[in-house]
Subunit: 369 residues, 2 copies
Amino acid sequence: MKIKGKHEHTIWVNENDNALIQVFDQRYLPHRVDIFDIRTTDEAAFAIKEMVVRGAPLIGVTAAYGMYLGCIEAKDKERPNLFLAEVATKLNDTRPTAVNLSWAVHKQLNALHKIKDPQEKIKVAFDMANQIKQDDINISKHIGKFGVEIIKQISEKKKGEPVNILTHCNAGWLATIDWGTALSPIYHAQKEGVPIHVWVDETRPRNQGANLTAFELGEQDVAHTLINDNTGGHLMQHGMVDMVIVGTDRTAGNGDVANKIGTYLKALAAHDNNIPFYVGLPSSTLDCSIMDGVKDIPIETRDENEVKYMQGKVDGEIKSILICPEATPALNYGFDVTPAKYITGLITERGICEASEKGIRSLFPEKYD
Amino acid sequence: MKIKGKHEHTIWVNENDNALIQVFDQRYLPHRVDIFDIRTTDEAAFAIKEMVVRGAPLIGVTAAYGMYLGCIEAKDKERPNLFLAEVATKLNDTRPTAVNLSWAVHKQLNALHKIKDPQEKIKVAFDMANQIKQDDINISKHIGKFGVEIIKQISEKKKGEPVNILTHCNAGWLATIDWGTALSPIYHAQKEGVPIHVWVDETRPRNQGANLTAFELGEQDVAHTLINDNTGGHLMQHGMVDMVIVGTDRTAGNGDVANKIGTYLKALAAHDNNIPFYVGLPSSTLDCSIMDGVKDIPIETRDENEVKYMQGKVDGEIKSILICPEATPALNYGFDVTPAKYITGLITERGICEASEKGIRSLFPEKYD
């Protein structure tokens, strides 16, 4: 996807220095397009924890490169595998909900623990991280190709009017490497000339919709309108939404979907108004060790100041404003879980399935092993 | 209710000048407690339109005083009744959803149009505005007395644990003259020593929850926690909410309730989790000329900049920050309508009834005449 007309990825290896990983600093978008350097495992952990990068797939790829940087740091250590295990723990502990994080870290650990030669370790980890990144791009593309068929079906009934798609948070290319998960079908629809319009939930408290989704849809020239998180229900009641697509940070084996806080409310409204509600997901977000998502997916609690303060641009600078009395206590859950019964279908890299054990098994039987 | 320990009303006649109406300027709360002067009908209209005052009952009372100021302005006019009709239109046109506005304006018009003497007109209008104000205080008190019984019933099952009550927007004393509608039962529970804790939805885009409800609960020492509008569903799923109480700007004759945008989403979540969902309302918000609220209650569309910018305090000043790309289009509906089937009951000044024609008729048969 593009920023200012130039095709970009969200994360890359510096072309002159293999030990320097670079990412777009998503903390300051859309007001500033900064690049953030990751040279150490501490910087990789910081980038994930502080949401320099975010989005389950991108978190996974960043963690994979973090393990690669761990191999570089491990090369002079007496017990390199112990050190790598510590790096894995450090990366894993940054954020609890997105399962891609531990998936990528363990994929690296499994590949690395039998390799003795430090240089060979570094090479294997580097290739693995690059592979995970390339796989993610392909996965996003496939999600788009399957998902666009749903949009095209709806479009046929709209007689040239745009298909109105509501999305929550950012599951676009900025949450992945390229294309996105929830937004990939939208970009594919644009490519195929299907008229579309996207309702962008601002997604409090961190405003990934207002900051990131509005930004990336704008850069890609996709028609869109920003709304408050409160607005979607009213739009759905009044025929202004044809479908909902969201991403996910973890999908349980029973089809329950953890995604950005507020997703559940939109699923309820879609259900109440007979509007299809889809989840775009790479299979790396499937966690079939959990069979009751609502009960068992761990939900991250973040700093209350994300609720009490809001970041934006004023007088040409990026600042945080206090939006409540200073003494007010606040609570900040990062995610909620949408029960499978409210989900029309899961759009995966292998096709579309029902949000249920049966549905997921039909495409990913190996996930239940 | 209190600000800094002193008992206050939201609107009052200046003690030295009967022609000066004063209100707390709710645009700058909680960061600044300013008083706003209303001396003219233009200033009354401005105060309502720009949300210096807000909340259906307070809007009604402000409009009633606006009509009184209209009588003062009319006294030198050639055709005072025509002038007053124009004032009525000006006030009515400020905001379309709250029905108390036109209710109060017409109550004044009906009383005034037969009176010829200008001084008599002024006196009648002044008395009427004062009466509407006093009635509103009594109504709020009664809503509290009926509503607190529901809280006490829930409290009995909680074994000393606080009753967790979620509210959306501000339907507290700042939305009325004193006590509030949705919050009046909460203040009565506090008075009676029932342990309570309030979840305060921040209520984007204008943050009446974060700015006003958090402020007034803090000033009254009621335990509360601020949350994003996205969070309530998750709390309800996990047993952290015992009941929901909200206010309303207009309730249709079939029990459908128009309230701040996002209310509908909370009602859906309450329904999905078997949590009682109550609406506190003065009968002045009943509009039985409408029998299908979802279809027929007019919904205000406000400036898109309320979505794109957010106001708060930074560096000791109140400022607005841009929270999305400058070019992003936004849409800003002020209200949504919750279908009656999702409402457990209406708490009115005459008691609690079902949200249905039958229920409302049992308490307010005259409203269907």
